[in-house]
């Protein structure tokens, strides 16, 4: 608002040449403002704006161009049990007893006490919802006017370094521990430089196009896709062979089907920047 006001006022005093200069400086100004806006949206909508950028894909071969990701919004936290309960109450076809097997297997919300009750104690309310299928996660995000993040968006956002620690150490430390009976609340792992929390260290997360990863035994004969990753040459095609955590994520994704539910697999939503 303020910027527009300035331009309008300035227009009266400056020639076209000046206006172009001013336009550029307003643009620059806009950029610095946007970082403030990021903080604001974090506080308000529970989402942060992830800036446009590129990253080196995990399984593209070394000659491949970097993957470009366009700016988007992402939830700061994974969706909690309490939030998911609101969705189920508003859309009873997604309750445990009503959901179609086409959309969720028999483990759907098995950690809940009943269709519309999470648990007797409130312990689980703010832990991330798990045991939800891809269809359920997609439906939740749609209900919120959002969508699931794309695989590339998720990987890009998850690459951001946590504030004060070594990302690989956090992840491997997490992998080495069994799942606790009750998952910790969202926000218990450190946030990364985009202010996203729990991208690693709490749960696995669904992505929109998780089925774009193929690492089955038949990847030599069948899918042309990702042969760079696990074919006869071992893992020579992978860009960072020491990235065990990424190996685990991609292998896990390739093992999923859209109606599967897993007791440490949840999700968070994303949104386009209009």
């Amino acid at each position: 608002m303020e910027n527009k006001f300035l331009t309008q006022r300035a227009g009266r005093f400056f020639t076209d040449k000046h206006r172009i200069c001013l336009f550029i400086s307003v643009l620059l100004c806009e950029f610095s403002v946007s970082s403030v806006a990021t903080m604001k949206s974090f506080a308000q909508g529970g989402m942060v704006k992830i800036p446009t950028g590129t990253y080196k894909g995990f399984y593209e071969n070394s000659q491949a161009e970097k993957i470009r990701v366009k700016t988007f919004y992402m939830d700061v936290h994974a969706v909690t049990n309490a939030q998911y309960l609101e969705f189920v109450k508003a859309n009873p076809i997604w309750s445990r007893s009503k959901v179609s097997r086409l959309y969720a297997d028999a483990g759907y919300l098995k950690h809940w006490e009943s269709d519309f009750k999470i648990s007797r104690d409130k312990k689980m309310d703010n832990s991330p919802v798990v045991n939800v299928s891809w269809f359920a996660a997609s439906a939740y995000c749609k209900w919120k006017g959002k969508r699931l993040p794309g695989l590339e968006e998720w990987e890009y956002a998850a690459k951001a370094k946590p504030d004060h620690s070594d990302i690989d150490k956090i992840i491997l430390n997490w992998y080495s521990k069994p799942n606790p009976v009750t998952l910790p609340n969202v926000g218990s792992a450190p946030s990364n430089s985009y202010k996203l929390q729990d991208m690693h260290g709490l749960i696995w997360e669904w992505v929109y196009d998780f089925n774009s990863v193929m690492l089955e035994g038949d990847s030599r004969s069948n899918a042309e896709l990702n042969r760079n990753m696990f074919c006869a040459a071992g893992s020579a095609g992978v860009s960072d062979r020491k990235n065990y955590a990424a190996f685990m994520r991609f292998a896990f994704r390739s093992s999923l089907k859209a109606n599967y539910t897993v007791n440490n697999l949840g999700f968070r939503c994303s949104k386009n920047v209009e």
């Binding site: 086409l102 990863v213 038949d218 042309e224």
Partner: protein, 194 residues
């Protein structure tokens, strides 16, 4: 006597009424509810190679053999179509008019009705074949249901797994084969059982 006539008349009325009532019921109800795991629960609408819109549940009662392709695909797609033709040639006689071959395109940007029609004639696919396209979201959803994996490449082509699915009359996946050049008997034996 009057009583008997009245009785007969009443009976006749009841008979006619219940009969016509039955007829209306048959017209109204397409059959029992779909099984929960039926692919026909998907509500999305597709467009076929003739430009007609189609929901998958319109295939109810048929035996669809389904896969996903894109028309600019040079290698795997002609081969998967060859595999489907192999199935076609071995379908038992009494199932021939029930089996329908369905190809759904990954490529929402390029594959429209006209392109699909051209592709069908290029591949010599007769009117037993239905070629469909839709928006990217419904394509992704269907791929999830059919357990087909795919990824759009930077050059606009698609990498994908090759899965053939046979659906029963109610749209439940009854059999799947994965890979290229699979033995058609795997699927034709399923078709025989349906």
């Amino acid at each position: 006597m009057k009583k008997i006539i009245a009785c007969l008349l009443t009976l006749a009325f009841v008979a006619i009424y219940s009969c016509s009532g039955n007829k209306v019921d048959v017209g109204k109800e397409p059959g029992p509810a779909l099984p929960p795991e039926s692919v026909y629960n998907l509500e999305t609408t597709w467009e076929d190679q003739n430009g007609d819109s189609l929901q998958l549940k319109e295939l109810r009662g048929k035996i669809p053999v389904m896969s996903m392709i894109f028309t600019r695909c040079a290698f795997a797609c002609p081969r998967i179509i060859a595999d489907m033709k192999a199935v076609a040639s071995q379908v038992p006689g009494d199932k021939k008019d029930k089996v329908v071959f369905v190809l759904v395109s990954f490529d929402s940007d390029h594959d429209n009705a006209a392109r699909l029609k051209q592709f069908a004639s290029q591949m010599q696919l007769d009117d037993q074949w239905v070629l469909l396209h839709g928006d990217p979201e419904q394509v992704r959803e269907l791929s999830m249901i059919l357990n087909i994996k795919y990824k759009k490449q930077p050059d606009g082509s698609f990498s994908h797994s090759n899965v053939l699915s046979v659906l029963g009359p109610d749209g439940v996946i009854e059999g799947q084969s994965e890979g290229l050049g699979v033995n058609p008997e795997m699927l034709t034996s399923k078709i025989e059982d349906l």
